[in-house]
């Protein structure tokens, strides 16, 4: 069984994003970039499924040349080979989903496991779009994955609790935070990953129009909250709450 895992290179989650003064976006020059945290979980899940009939894991990224690093990280974790679709332009989830659909046609994976959202644009769309384009089943926000011979049963985190669905293969899964704890790549595996295959492509190779549909007119910082006061003790807090009418 083959699993495809799309991974995105994003601003590291520990870095505080800084909005550019000219309002054109968030400053990504000279800041730490990493694999989208949800995608690490997706890669980890694919690796864990290797005991359950998965024989090959293909990771794919759409982005600038530097996304190679992200793919190498996935290879070091345990993925088998990588595809980089190089583009200097920003590709929106719809465009990403269209490119992934082409890769699915070529590679015929049984499962595609994605992150539930990329933490830069917080769109939460790509997996669902891919499933829609392919006309296959989708299980979003996965917190448990049980792979069968021709189906997969997924528990999903939903408002109010959890829900379980069974999908026919091939199927699309997007992962939530509690599915697993991604491993760190060991040094020997990082070395080994350097010789694993990484194919380079362009959007044109797939004949897909990925021109953006949205124009970002401006990006600003949100209204700042000013820090309030420290209260001395519980009595003072109770008094504050009472004066606001929160407590009687």
């Amino acid at each position: 069984m083959r699993v495809l895992v799309p991974v995105k290179r994003v601003l590291d989650y520990n870095v505080k994003p800084r909005v550019k003064a000219d309002g054109s976006g968030v400053d990504l020059a000279n800041v730490k970039m990493s694999m989208n945290p949800f995608d690490e979980i997706a890669v980890e899940e694919a690796i864990r499924l290797k005991d359950k009939g998965v024989t090959e894991i293909v990771v794919v990224s759409i982005g600038e040349q530097k996304a190679q690093e992200t793919l190498r990280t996935a290879l070091a974790m345990g993925a088998d080979r990588a595809i980089l679709i190089v583009t200097e332009d920003k590709v929106e989830p719809l465009g990403v989903a269209k490119l992934l659909a082409k890769i699915v046609e070529e590679e015929k994976p049984d499962l595609v496991i994605l992150g539930k959202q990329a933490i830069d644009d917080d769109n939460n769309q790509t997996g669902q779009m891919l499933a829609g384009l392919l006309g296959v089943g989708q299980a979003t926000f996965a917190s448990k994955v049980e792979l069968g011979a021709d189906s997969v049963t997924v528990t999903r985190e939903v408002d109010g609790g959890s829900e379980t669905e069974t999908l026919k293969l091939p199927a699309i899964i997007t992962v939530d935070l509690r599915l697993n704890e991604p491993r760190y790549a060991s040094l020997p595996n990082i070395m080994k990953a350097k010789s694993k295959p990484l194919a380079q492509k362009t959007a044109a190779d797939y004949g897909v129009d990925v021109s953006p549909r949205l124009t970002t007119l401006k990006v600003v910082e949100p209204a700042k909250r000013s820090a309030g006061i420290k209260v001395a003790d519980v009595d003072e807090l109770v008094a504050k709450l009472k004066s606001m009418g929160v407590a009687k």
Binding site: P17, V19, M129, T164, E165
Partner: protein, 309 residues
Amino acid sequence: MKTLVWVEHDGTSVKDATLSTVTAASKLGEVHLLVAGHGVGAVAEAAAKIAGVGKVHVADDAAYAHALAENVAPLVAKLMESHDAFLVPATTNGKNIAPRVAALLDVMQISDILSVESEDTFTRPIYAGNAIATVQTKDAKKVISVRGTAFEKVATEGGSGTIEAVDTTGDAGVSTYVGSEIAASERPELTSAKIIVSGGRALGSSEQFHTLIDPLADKLGAGVGASRAAVDAGYAPNDYQVGQTGKIVAPEVYVAVGISGAIQHLAGMKDSKVIVAINKDEDAPIFQVADFGLVGDLFKLVPELTEKL
């Protein structure tokens, strides 16, 4: 413009998240609703009473019973032949369905809008709310998810929508609902609670979480939330999680107990009117957004607070 709003419901009543989505839709044009489910007559009746709605399209079929995106998306795509915009609340259902619809319509979805600037221009948070983008779409049809806390809720009464049955598009045959575990709670739902008390990793155990946080929440008539760390450690169920990847809340008062204030947590609660924080570390980032900060040991302070309220 004619809009179609996804009605979020539990089979018997309309969920609050629908009401703010109707407000957003009404800024674009005429508001039609879609009630999809199985045996949803009562929901449709209630939906028709929502202030300002026109047609209520009702798709009543076993295929829609659990809002499986594979079955619902083709239904919405068909209805979109006669509508210009599809809006969902940014609930887990909304997030699951809308992008699939967008793909079927070949449009780029606009996620989690905070405001409607014009027919084609919206604001939305990016980078966990650390930046707000104004985006304009070139797509003729629009697919939009709406952040509930950013729009007022319309009244649940006063409308006189006309109910119209729509034909089923059937079962896509690729997915089956197996079951769900939905926690029944007496407490107000997080996304509509006026007051929320949230606990963090510092609570130390599920037992302490409940013996400290629950009574305080009871005193305040509050909903209960948690940080991701508290949820991951099993102190609280997953649907309590507030933050970038959990629930987005904006109550009148948010009380953060033993929560450090990581940006991913702040993303979910920093639009609360008043923030109260209890933390033993006076430099904890949560104090940078708190209106009232109380420095000290929560195991001493929380019981005292509960008692004095």
